[in-house]
Structure formats: C-alpha cells, structure tokens
C-alpha cells in the first residue's frame, strides 16, 4: 500500500517515540521494527529516519549515546527521555481523537 507522504511524516514522531519506549534502540533496528509492526505497509526511506531522530534529540525528547555493539560496530543508541514520554502520551491522545473521529464516520457509512 502506498501511504501519503504527509501521513508518513506525521506518524514518524509517535512511532519512533513508541518504539523507543519499548527499549533503547538504534536507527537500523528502529526501521526494522517499523516494518515488522506495520506488516511492511509502512515503508520509510531509511535515511529519512535520521533527521527525525536528530530533531527529536534536539527537542530533548530522546537522548543519544555512541557505543559499540557486540559485533564490534559503533552505533548511536537512542533512549526516550522523560519529556519524550510526556510527548508520546500527548500524541497518543491526539491520534486517538483522529482515529475515533474517522471510525465514527466510517461506521456510519457502513450502516447507512
């Protein structure tokens, strides 16, 4: 399924924050997790994740640290901050409203 560009962009922040709230992670693993969660329907251009991560880091919603993985590769690990969790909760509320509204109107369309 081809997703609209704006929708992908809008969902990037809550998605990344939600994945990081499961556990600390790095770019490649986040991309894999997104593909896994969406059943491959949500395809990001891989590189585009990094500007998103950097923006979140700048806003203080995530924090980053370089460390070496067990395979000996240096990786930048991201961790969600307290502010990030608050933002995630807020975004969750907003998405719930959007979701509920759309559902309501589509249910009506089905029953009519």
């Amino acid at each position: 399924m081809e997703m609209g560009k704006d929708l992908v962009a809008a969902s990037a922040t809550p998605l990344v924050l939600a994945i990081l709230s499961e556990r600390d992670s790095y770019g490649y693993a986040i991309i894999k997790r997104v593909a896994e969660l969406s059943g491959g329907n949500l395809q990001w251009t891989d590189g585009m994740l990094y500007p998103v991560l950097h923006r979140l880091e700048r806003q203080g919603l995530v924090a980053a640290k370089w460390s070496t993985s067990e395979t000996g590769r240096r990786r930048k690990y991201y961790r969600i901050t307290k502010e990030g969790r608050a933002e995630l909760a807020a975004q969750r509320q907003q998405w719930r409203v959007v979701d509920g509204t759309l559902r309501g109107i589509w249910m009506k369309a089905c029953t009519a």
Binding site: G27, R55, Q59
Partner: protein, 456 residues
C-alpha cells in the same frame, strides 16, 4: 568498524561516504551513523543471499537520494544552513527570488529610505535645527517599514500579512506624534529609544514569515540581527571615511561642507545603509560567515575577566556603586551585552554537543553579571526611595528587571546543562521565547509612559 570481505563492496561504501562528506548538511558523526546503517543493511542483504554489488544497490536505494536526504538533514539542523544554503530550488518553502530584480528592488528601497528622511524637510522640519526631536522620535519609522517591505517581497508573503504588519507601524507613528511633549522631555527621548525596539519585532515577523513558531525561525532572526549590526558598523566606517574626504576636499577650496554632511550625507546614508546591510546579510551570508559568533568567542572571556575583576575590587575596597543616571543605563547595557553574548554563542552552537570549557565560561559570565547587577539594583532602589520616580529611572529599572529575569533563568538552565541534567535546546528555547518580552516592554514605554509622567 567491521569491514566486509568483499573488496569492491568496501570501495563502493568508501565512495558513497565521500559523496556524503562533501555535502554541507552532514556532519562527520552523521556520516558515521548513516554508514553504520548502510553496513547493517548490507549484512542483512548479503546474509539473505544477495551478491555484494546487488546488496549495495538495494541498500543505497533504500537509504534514499542524497539530495532529498541532505535537504532533510539541513532542515533538522537549520544552524548548518547558515554557512551554506543547501536548501536550493528543490524546496517549496524558501522563496528563491534573487538576481537582478532583487538588486533593483533593494536599491530602490534604499533610495526610498534615504529620500523618506528628507520628506519632512519639505514641510520646514530641519534635521539640523528645530525639527530634531521629531526626527529622533520617528527615526525607526523612516526605515523599518521599507525593510519590512523587502522581507515581505523576499519571503513571498501574502498581502494580508502585509496589512497586519502595517498596523504596528501605523500605531507607532500615531504614538510617536500625538503626545504634547514639553521641551527637552525625558519621555520623548524614551520613545525615540524604545520605538525601534518595538518595531524590530515586526521586522522579525516579516523576516521569518510563518516560521515564528517553527524550528529555528526566531533563532535565524537573531542571527540576522547580529550580522546586520556588524555589516552596519562596517558600512558606517566606510561612511566616516567618505565624510572625512568630503570635508577635506571642500575645505581645500575654501568651502564649508557642513550642511551637506549634516543634512544629507549622514541621515540619508544611515537610513539607506539599513536596507543595504540587510540585503548583504541575506545575499552574502558566506562572505563574512558567522562573524557574530566569532566576536562572541573572542569577547566572552574578556568580559568574564572584567566582571570578576570588578566584583573582586568592589569586595576588596568595600566601595559601593554611585548610582548616577548614566550609570544605571550603563548597567542595563552591560546586561544586554551579556544576554547578547549568550544569545550569539547559542545561535552558533551545535545544540547536541556536550558541555565544554566555553560553556563553563559562559556560566561564570552570566553569574558574575547577575552579582554585579544585584548590587546595581540595590543602588537604584535606594535612589528611587530617596528621590522618587522619574520616567528614566522607571524605564531603566524595568529593563534591568527584564534582563535580570532572563539571565537568572539562563544561569539555572546553564547549570543544569553543565551538570548534564538538561539539554542545551532548553536554553535556546528559553532565549527565543523571551524575545517578545523586550518588544512588549518597549511598547509599554512608548504608549503608557508619556501620559503617565505628564509628557515631561
């Protein structure tokens, strides 16, 4: 970094890395992060059975085109844009209207500003005579509307926006001219000083267009203001040389050129230079790149030493600040300067970098400025309780408190940042969020002070 056994694959990765490095938008750590991603992807693909070059093609394709990628990186790190405008014609939200049209418009606006300042002279208000207070009160109104027009055009804003931006200028013109000031009135001088501060915010709105609340919009305006100040000083230096030669040449044939300088060269030049300077900042960002931060780096240590030495001397000799009128304004300027140093250090700093020695220095600077100002405030409070309120004292006191609040919170945020409890972005946000406060206070001084103090 773990290398692949496939030599040609390593070569391809190396080439890709070089392409990335050449782009201004990527820092070395970004390149490393992206390369790490590419290698993870390649490992997965080769494990799945793809040959090296096939895997490379797929992985690079998935990474996305370099143009799109560097654009996104540049947006996320807009401070990197300052040096090199990588956001080119490919982006929709930066209007790219340059070339001869812009030059014509800029020269037209500069000439318009220079002429505008001569218009009142047609009605008998001489700038070197009785009309002087009028010119001082209205100085900002001759130039800043034209500068706003330039940015409205440059950013391709709609006419509706232009209308909203015109309102504060109209209000400023009204308040600068309706009050019946007494001769040599203090509130009149306060208007002359504060109206430009208030209207500068309007220029800021035109400058950032709809990015006032978006990332980096206001910080860009702060940068612009600093660079403009530097260009303006440079142009002024050139102007002085021009004036010196004018005097010298005409004096050599026995003529006095005073009227030419006083009534034409200085006022027209000062007005036109604002427009030309702004255009230079916009157009030639890479020529004098980031002068403000360089000056900040240079002078932060010097001012820190000065303040520490001053505090030390005061404590050692036990002498107290003798709070004359000029001294109070002087302390306001000192605080404004420290805020400026903090602001420009912040504007050029990579917000993600860890705290370093320079940050410690800034913290010392801010704290020592707070101490010095605390002493100065005590002195002014004593003076007010002894001699009562005057418009100058109240204005200076208000400014002092505004700057003090800013610096106190800045010190707190800096301390948290230095102890790695908070991020630098917080400090940047605080400084940026505080900008309108200055304009609001200036507006209060312009609008409320003259009637409050009986136009004296």
């Amino acid at each position: 970094m773990m290398a692949f056994a496939d030599r040609s694959l390593e070569e391809q990765i190396g080439q890709w890395r070089e392409y990335l490095r050449r782009r201004q938008a990527f820092h070395l750590s970004d390149v490393e992060e992206l390369e790490g991603h590419l290698r993870d992807q390649l490992t997965a693909l080769t494990d799945a059975g793809l040959a090296g070059d096939e895997a490379f093609l797929v992985a690079v394709k998935r990474m996305g085109s370099l143009d799109a990628l560097s654009r996104e990186f540049a947006r996320a790190h807009s401070e990197r844009l300052w040096k090199q405008l990588v956001i080119g014609p490919g982006s929709a939200d930066e209007s790219v209207a340059a070339g001869p049209t812009e030059l014509v418009l800029v020269i037209g606006l500069a000439v318009a500003a220079a002429l505008a300042i001569k218009v009142p002279a047609l009605f008998g208000l001489r700038i070197d005579g009785s009309g002087q207070p009028f010119y001082f009160r209205n100085a900002a109104l001759f130039v800043l509307p034209l500068l706003t027009v330039y940015f409205i055009w440059k950013r391709g804003s709609r006419l509706g926006t232009a209308f909203w931006l015109a309102l504060p200028f109209a209000a400023g013109a009204v308040f600068a001219n309706i009050f019946p000031f007494t001769t040599n009135s203090d509130t009149e001088k306060l208007i002359a000083l504060h109206l430009p501060i208030m209207l500068w915010l309007v220029v800021g709105f035109a400058y950032v267009r709809n990015r006032w609340f978006a990332n980096g919009g206001r910080m860009d305006f702060v940068r612009f203001s600093g660079e403009l100040a530097i260009y303006y000083v440079l142009i002024a230096l050139g102007g002085f040389v021009l004036i010196a030669f004018t005097v010298m040449l005409f004096a050599s044939i026995g003529m006095k050129a005073d009227w030419l300088i006083g009534a034409w060269l200085v006022p027209c030049g000062a007005a036109g230079a604002v427009i030309i300077g702004s255009w230079l900042v916009e157009a030639k960002q890479s020529v004098i790149e980031n002068m403000a931060p360089v000056l900040t780096r240079l002078f932060t240590p010097l001012f820190t030493v000065l303040l520490l030495a001053f505090i030390g001397t005061m404590a050692w000799t036990g002498s107290f600040i003798n709070m004359q009128r000029q001294v109070l304004i002087g302390f306001d300027l000192l605080l404004a300067l420290v805020v400026g140093l903090v602001l420009y250090a912040a504007s050029a700093r990579d917000p993600l970098a860890a705290p370093d020695f320079f940050d410690g220095l800034q913290l010392v600077l801010v704290v020592s400025a707070l101490v010095v100002d605390g002493v100065a405030l005590a002195a002014i409070a004593a003076r007010i309780s002894e001699f009562g309120f005057t418009p100058n004292r109240v204005a200076a006191l208000g400014e002092n408190i505004i700057l003090l609040v800013n610096l106190a919170w800045t010190a707190w945020l800096y301390l948290r940042f230095a102890r790695r409890l908070g991020s630098f972005a917080r400090l940047e946000q605080w400084q940026i969020a505080y900008l309108p406060v200055y304009a609001v206070w200036a507006a209060i001084v312009v609008i409320a002070f003259p009637p409050l103090f009986g136009y004296k």
